[in-house]
């Protein structure tokens, strides 16, 4: 009987502690992921070892993980923000593209000192993508078009707009499917000029840590993403605007009855969500790609953002960690093929399985509580 009390104590402890579920689901995800690998005939321990070493053992590996997490943290914030206000923003993908297109154009055509150019590019990307997101907001508020449909359609429009703009005379780099690179003054890569100069290379060769970390396009994007995470948290939890938006999310009729302008709230929410995804696109161009390319298919930054938002429980801090975890899985996963020889399909299934389980702490919470209830019922009988 003693053990029973002990188990119950642990159970209540876990059910009370929100992060507990996340951790259980992460562990569960890794176990099931291992099982899928083992089923395919590969040693999961070895694979996880390769992943862990491939992400953690060198400064450049950690840098790549951080770089990879930047856009998905921002798109996840976009999805989460809309979600908190009762809207499902599938359009982060398209808003990301609009942000990237704007950043590529403003970054290339405008010539200004870096101190003005960088904020200008970022703000233009945010504004353009915010307006793009606002289209879905207006359609929903004025005409009742469901935002899932409209944002999916806007994604396609953004994709083809992207492909059209890339090929415009004057923007397209000759004999390629890319635009010209943005001006140096719009780049947010840390010490970009210096690390390419002869002195820079000389110094970096002598300093292993920095030399290794800076061989990646490490940039300020991650810091900016964190700042946005804080801003999102602040707006949602500490301002009247956030209160109103959330109220509409919980129950739009009650909110309307309470005197909140629901149409305006929906529009505002989609504009902010669009702006966040646009920031992701802008920072991506300024920090990594430097240009935009004609795309065969959507690149998945927005869709990965949905997964990250779910993993992070739609909360700012959770999203930052979830973004890092997601990026680590993606980056670490790419190391398994060369080292282990497992086909990339198997690795992608494994990563998919892990993400699937990590994204559903709610289900685990629900089933745990359900079991508890059933047991209680039995005792009564």
């Amino acid at each position: 009987m003693k053990s029973k009390a002990f188990f119950e104590k642990i159970a209540t402890y876990i059910t009370k502690w929100t992060f507990g579920f996340s951790i259980i689901s992460i562990i569960l995800g890794f176990i099931i992921g291992a099982a899928t690998l083992a089923l395919a005939g590969f040693n999961p321990i070895e694979a996880y070892g390769i992943m862990a070493r491939g992400v953690l053992t060198r400064p450049s590996y950690v840098a790549w993980t951080i770089i990879g997490s930047t856009p998905i943290i921002l798109t996840a914030l976009s999805v989460a923000f809309a979600f908190k206000t009762g809207l499902f923003n599938i359009g982060a993908e398209g808003q990301f593209m609009i942000g990237a297109i704007t950043a590529a154009m403003v970054g290339y055509f405008v010539e200004l000192p870096a101190i003005i150019h960088i904020p200008l590019v970022l703000i233009s990307a945010i504004v353009a993508a915010g307006l793009w997101g606002g289209i879905a907001g207006v359609l929903k508020a004025k005409f009742g078009v469901h935002e899932v449909i409209s944002t999916i359609m806007l994604n396609w429009i953004a994709l083809y707009l992207n492909n059209y703009i890339v090929l415009l005379e004057g923007l397209r780099r000759a004999t390629s499917q890319r635009t010209h690179e943005i001006q140096r003054s719009a780049s947010i890569v840390i010490l970009e000029q210096w690390k390419r100069s002869p002195e820079g290379r000389e110094w970096l060769r002598g300093h292993d840590f920095f030399g290794d970390a800076l061989r990646t396009p490490l940039n300020w994007g991650f810091i900016i993403a964190i700042i946005f995470a804080v801003i999102v948290w602040y707006i949602l939890n500490k301002t009247t605007l956030g209160y109103e938006l959330k109220a509409v999310g919980y129950n739009r009729h009650a909110a309307e009855y309470g005197g909140i302008n629901v149409s305006k709230s929906m529009f505002t929410s989609m504009v902010i969500a669009g702006g966040l995804a646009g920031a992701a696109g802008g920072l991506h161009v300024m920090g990594i790609s430097k240009s935009i390319a004609s795309l065969a298919a959507m690149e998945g930054y927005g869709f990965n953002g949905i997964a990250v938002a779910l993993i992070g429980g739609n909360a700012s801090i959770g999203i930052v960690f979830a973004g890092l975890l997601f990026s680590a899985l993606q980056y670490g996963g790419s190391k398994i093929q060369p080292a282990l020889g497992a086909p990339s399909e198997v690795i992608n299934i494994m990563i998919g399985t892990i993400v699937f389980f990590i994204a559903m702490p709610k289900l685990i919470k629900y089933s745990l509580q359900n079991f508890k209830k059933k047991r209680g019922a039995k005792n009564v009988r």
Partner: protein
């Protein structure tokens, strides 16, 4: 029930921690390689095993196009030359640099970038790592670094051959060409094909349209449908994914199409009469042979053509193309290799000769 469930969870937890513990332990020792086959053992006595790896573009390794062909070339190098081979797939454009670095850290002797989209990334990586050998498919540099090989294909030669077939087989006297984008790489296909058609059948008319996209199958289908309506009965495409739409249109309208890059007959077995193949696999294998022999052609752009099996027509051509035409094609091929037939790869050369 709840207790059982919880116990199960705890056991799983324990197992997980045990796994993590083991993971750390085994991580220290190098992963044992696969049991080497007998030939490999023999070779290993003579020399250390060479490692070669490739980064795919966003198409992925099973794209039924040049990424897959490149991986076939790698596997051939593994089976016949004893190379250790691997690949990394790129999911996004931004992954190229990162993936090239992954393969650099894995200690490869030669790293391939598949596709001209990777041109910038390879140039940059080669600049930063002057001791690492790189090679790239479908891309050339004005000033190739010493540790890079650019690999190009004389697509115009294969296009000339399929053009010849089209010129001989057309019943309406009209054939079509659908290009991906209007730039030099595709001009090779365009003018090679036109020259081949004219060589076979001086009266034939060639309808030409560019789709401005390598990925828009719907547009490819619309263009091909229009060409078939205008009376063309064979359409050749050099347009990647856009071309899938061309083949789709051929199947629906029961007309003929000509594939590109790989043998595309399986996409529409009754309609794709031949394909202008780019043997990326052969090219990769040949460069691997050079590397093994110690004469890696660093700093050069290597061009593969009919002569060395770098381009050619699809082996399934005999299903639809009459044997006598194939015999003529073999003769034309011999003449091209011998330099008796001039194959243009741009508008000026074409206008001057045809």
């Amino acid at each position: 029930m709840f207790k059982k469930m919880l116990a199960l969870m705890l056991v799983l937890l324990l197992m997980a921690t045990a796994l993590v513990g083991c993971g750390g332990g085994t991580a220290e020792e190098p992963a044992p390689a696969e049991e080497p086959t007998e030939e490999q053992v023999e070779e290993q006595v003579e020399e250390p095993q060479l490692k070669m790896a490739m980064v795919t573009d966003v198409g992925g390794v099973n794209d039924e196009s040049f990424n897959e062909s490149a991986w076939n070339g790698h596997q051939k190098a593994r089976d016949e030359l004893g190379f250790e081979v691997s690949y990394v797939e790129s999911e996004q454009d931004a992954d190229y640099e990162r993936n090239l670095e992954t393969l650099l850290d894995a200690g490869n002797d030669l790293i391939w970038g598949i596709g001209f989209m990777m041109g910038d990334a390879i140039a940059e990586a080669a600049d930063f790592n002057p001791d690492q050998k790189y090679a790239i498919i479908d891309s050339a540099y004005d000033d190739t670094p010493d540790n890079v090989v650019g690999v190009l294909f004389k697509a115009e030669e294969a296009s000339f051959l399929v053009g010849y077939i089209a010129g001989k087989m057309t019943e309406t006297g009209k054939v079509g060409f659908v290009g991906g984008m209007d730039f030099p790489v595709i001009h090779g296909f365009h003018y090679g094909f036109m020259a081949g058609v004219k060589y076979a059948n001086p009266d034939a008319e060639v309808l030409v349209q560019y789709a401005d996209s390598f990925v828009d199958a719907a547009r490819g289908k619309a263009i091909a449908n229009q060409m078939y309506q205008q009376g063309a009965d064979i359409v050749f495409h050099a347009a990647g994914g856009t071309g899938d739409g061309v083949i789709e249109a051929a199947r629906e309208q029961d007309k003929y199409a000509i594939g590109v890059d790989m043998d595309q007959n399986h996409l529409a077995p009754d309609n794709v009469i031949t394909s202008a193949m780019k043997r990326v696999d052969n090219a990769i294998f040949m460069i691997a042979e050079d590397l093994k022999a110690g004469n890696f052609p660093g700093g050069q752009t290597v061009v593969f053509g009919l002569e060395d099996g770098g381009v050619g027509i699809a082996p399934t051509s005999d299903k639809h193309v009459p044997a006598e035409i194939l015999e003529e094609v073999a003769e034309v091929e011999r003449q091209i290799i011998a330099g008796e037939i001039f194959v243009p790869d741009n508008k000026d050369d074409y206008d001057a000769n045809y």
